[in-house]
Symmetry: C2
Subunit: 295 residues, 2 copies
């Protein structure tokens, strides 16, 4: 297995502005092949041609992470919010085309929960069914656009606290099957799967050839190898389905040496994490390589 290894842009900076483009060379130097860039808001003023040039200079490929909200959400009952959701994803697809990104991934269905200040609350069966239909309808159209733009859409299940739309691979596969377009696939994040799936390897095998993007995160979202994830088993499952896409890391740093930790919030880097990142890449690559011999 020789999957490209990626790193989320906010590992280094958030928001990611023009002055951060030099970090691409740093990522490459650490051993990464790909950067997963949080889609910049238009007002953040990141120019697509600047991004593309910086990527070329660094020899890095790119994938995009879409940022949905309660006001741009293709699953919403309000047609204006739904339209804003579609328009936003079109903007992401256009940007993907402009920077040469392989995919636009994330909770594309919208309706974020805890980080948007929305607490879990019961939803009627009728509304659940309606959301599903709205998501299928919007993604059917967007898949055609993505195809034209030469990128994939990667639908990501999130854990029960972050969404009440799609939390498991099984649910995501229902939408992906209904849309049934080669430009729509699955994004698998082990952090979320560790909360929702009965078995991470089984869930990977369920995704099968629909898996187009993989985020390898620890159970506690720290650096791979510092938690309870069974990386050899995970890589064997990826090998089982002949997955050749990116394996991206998002080792959000934590701060729990004191009471009242803000584990759930993104924090800027507070130390040089180079050695931890290099060790993480080494671990993922070693397990991926070893998976070839464990059949």
């Amino acid at each position: 297995m020789n999957n490209p290894i990626g790193i989320i842009s906010m590992q280094f900076a958030r928001p990611f502005r023009r002055e951060h483009l030099g970090l691409f060379a740093r990522m490459k130097e650490l051993g990464f092949d790909l950067v997963e860039l949080l889609v910049p808001e238009p007002e953040e003023g990141l120019d697509a041609s600047d991004v593309r040039k910086a990527l070329d200079d660094a020899g890095l490929t790119i994938a995009l992470a879409a940022r949905v909200s309660l006001t741009r959400s293709i699953s919403d009952g309000d047609p204006a919010i739904r339209l804003a959701g579609s328009d936003y994803l079109k903007y992401c697809i256009d940007l993907a085309h402009a920077v040469g990104a392989i995919s636009v991934g994330g909770p594309l269905y919208g309706a974020p929960m805890v980080f948007a200040g929305r607490a879990p609350a019961p939803v009627t069966d009728a509304e659940m069914k309606a959301r599903e239909q709205r998501v299928i309808e919007a993604l059917s159209k967007l898949s055609l656009l993505a195809n034209g733009a030469g990128c994939l859409l990667a639908l990501e299940p999130l854990n029960r606290y972050e969404t009440d739309v799609i939390s498991t691979v099984s649910q995501a596969m229902r939408v992906i099957s209904a849309v049934d377009h080669p430009s729509l696939g699955l994004l698998f994040d082990t952090f979320h799967a560790n909360i929702e799936e009965r078995s991470i390897p089984d869930a990977i095998r369920l995704a099968g050839n629909k898996l187009v993007y993989f985020q390898g995160n620890e159970n506690h979202r720290g650096f791979p190898g510092t938690g309870n994830m069974n990386w050899p088993e995970i890589m064997k499952a990826l090998r089982d389905i002949n997955y050749q896409g990116p394996i991206t890391l998002e080792p959000f740093r934590r701060d729990d040496d004191r009471i009242g930790l803000p584990i759930a919030q993104w924090r800027p880097p507070h130390e040089d994490e180079s050695q931890k990142l290099i060790a993480s890449i080494d671990l993922v690559r070693a397990c991926a390589h070893m998976a070839e011999f464990q059949r």
Copy 2:
């Protein structure tokens, strides 16, 4: 290991009213030794002497699960909310005495997050420190009361989405050490630990003789044995620290055969779960027994 095996009351009914007291006999019949009762609100009209009689009739012991809120919270900066938090926990301790409960457990520090509609947001260092001091001060007084009432207080870390006060055993141990009273100990829930701890067995060993209550839940909160928890390793860690307290199950049922699952909400039973509960008890007991021979 011959730990009492418990079941949360809401597995059968919520709210748990007088007409549900007959369920105690059903719990005993299934093989449970203990019921973990959600502390009833005064207006729910559950009489302590009725509870005690039903427990005696069924031959069941009891522990209480406290229900904090944003308006009764010993960590809050508002003295009125803090007082309401202390008063509520005093009510819980009085109830524990009246029904003969061994402990009052839960996120006693208050300030619930996602289920109270509060999204994660940064907290200043000063406020984090102040929260810690308020929790230590309140629990120091409440520990004396608990001692007089013959029950324990069991402090429960919750995952990053449900609290930003105490999410790890390490953090809880700081408060428990500062209070330093034999009536205050730790409540360990494997579901939360699976999201926050680097190693569940290591976290159990860190708690050591301060562990007074244990909730054995799957990674996805379903029935033990249906997820990715390593039950033999967990029971070996409990054996390492000579834990003799309850092992309680809270296998919240889920409903993810469709899109838009409300995984995060409690749902009433929709089928006879007797066989799943019996199998869960058997699994926990078998792993606990086997732990005696794996040294």
